[in-house]
Amino acid sequence: MRRTCRVSEFFSGESPAPRRVIELRGVWVERDGRTVLEDITFSVEEGTFLGIIGPNGAGKTTLLKVMLGLIRPQRGEVRVMGMAPGELRHELHHIGYMPQQVLFDPLFPVSVFDVVMMGRACCIGPLRPPSRRDREAVRESIRAVGLEGLEKRPIGELSGGQQRRAFLARALCLETRILLLDEPTAGLDVPAQEDFLALLGRLKKERELTVVFVSHDISVLARHADSIVCINRTMHLHGSPQEVLGSERLHEVYRCEFDFLAGKGAAR
């Protein structure tokens, strides 16, 4: 199929420098007449783990949606696997996405298996039932996140950490090359957070995934990310965790949040 060629072309072939899986150049986003993102420029290399940090309302989620092509920037250029957002529409099965706190009804009548199968819906296409290959891929994905044996459990009966792993399995059950995770560990206790990150690290290595991880928790990213981008509407820092955490400017950025919480900042 011509469709998958673009992505396999991108990832195959010799390339002297590491491939830039995601590239943003001078991206501006305005929503409802307000600037949400201002002049964002960075790139993510293949197989690396990028952490995006910033206070609440800094535009982190918007940035992920720009990468997914769900929000088109007013200015600037976005390239994901070498493609512009318009071309990306048919290649979304290479991108696994986990939105911020999946707000689902805990009584929704689906099992873990059903939830992970949803991830393949776009590939199976309408009017067709899942094939044996689809079911096999779903089982494999459930095994990869360590939820085997729980396939038939209703999703609402799982613990918070297990639910996140089920959603990760859903994001992984296609030919996933990139994972975009929006605060995937928010609301979990510390051991569950560490479990999730250890799992993520292992999967990234095994499957050569490129991971973009949004969080407002600096400590989580400091230990796991290869590089960190710190944004608060505009980009403040980009570098290795050591560079970013050691920077004076980080405190300036987060200062805004303290001011905001104290009621001194502008309303969101």
Binding site: L70, R89, H90, L92, H93, P99, F104, A121, C122, L127
Partner: protein
């Protein structure tokens, strides 16, 4: 009772409508569209009024009108300027008011209108049965054909959109299907009770299972059994069919509530009482 043509028509029409409504009710309940169902069915009154006044077939007029209102509600709600329930509250009352005004101005106020409000098997012609069967079949095909997609969107719309699924199509598709199914069920159960068919079957199924396949099966069983039993009771006791069907449906729901595995204390209470 099957000797009578009007009962044959009612049964055939009723069974097809019950099946479509029951399957649809799964998404009405899981996507919290119960109030939307009420809004759409009540809006049909406006369509019926306009149809009577303009000399059109009231059912077809109501069909067009309901689809327009459903799309209008959806469009306003999707634009995010207003909450969905506010939009429904405005549009369905206005549509009913319009119906009442048009009818009173055109001096069509008669018993006919009551049959639209509460349903009447006698009012069903073979044309209505055919319309009910065809639209119900279309609704079932829509739900069956796009089930995976509809399920994903109902569970987690944001991720569904991010994976490239047509989220807007599934929303408007559901609304239009609801409008069409509601319109054909109006002849049988009436405008006021039609939305019950869109809520109670799946609500019953959800009391009994956490597996969508079983929920769908039980919703369909409840819908079909209530329809057949309700029609038979209404014939035997000479009471209005719409109200009887809805009461039977409600009875099944209460029974499911009592034996629901989610409320084992209720079962214990029943056993002790018995």
């Amino acid at each position: 009772m099957l000797r009578y043509a009007f009962m044959q028509k009612a049964l055939l029409g009723g069974i097809s409508v019950a099946l479509a409504c029951s399957l649809l009710s799964f998404f009405v309940v899981t996507r919290r569209l119960a109030f939307m169902g009420m809004g759409i069915s009540h809006a049909a009154f406006g369509g019926v009024g306009l149809g009577l006044a303009a000399g059109l077939d009231p059912t077809w007029a109501a069909g067009g009108f309901c689809v327009a209102v459903a799309l209008g509600i959806g469009w306003l709600a999707r634009r995010g300027r207003m909450h969905e329930d506010t939009t429904i509250g405005i549009l369905f009352t206005s549509a009913m008011a319009l119906g009442a005004l048009v009818v009173s101005l055109s001096h069509h106020y008669n018993l006919d209108l009551m049959s639209y409000l509460f349903g009447s098997v006698l009012a069903m012609g073979w044309k209505d049965v055919a319309a009910a069967a065809i639209l119900s079949l279309l609704a079932c095909l829509f739900i069956g054909g796009f089930f995976k997609e509809l399920l994903f969107v109902a569970f987690d719309e944001e991720t569904a959109a991010a994976s490239g699924l047509p989220v807007r199509f599934s929303y408007y598709g559901l609304l239009v299907t609801m409008a069409l199914v509601v319109v054909v069920s109006i002849k049988l159960v009436g405008i006021i009770l039609a939305s019950a068919l869109l809520v109670i079957p799946a609500a019953t199924g959800l009391q009994l299972s956490r597996d969508y396949r079983l929920v769908l099966l039980m919703a369909a069983l409840n819908g079909l059994a209530s329809m057949v039993l309700g029609l038979w009771l209404s014939y035997a006791a000479d009471v209005p069919p719409g109200a009887t069907i809805v009461m039977v449906m409600f009875g099944f729901f209460l029974a499911a509530l009592a034996i629901s595995p989610r409320r084992p204390w209720m079962l214990r209470l029943l056993r002790r009482g018995g």
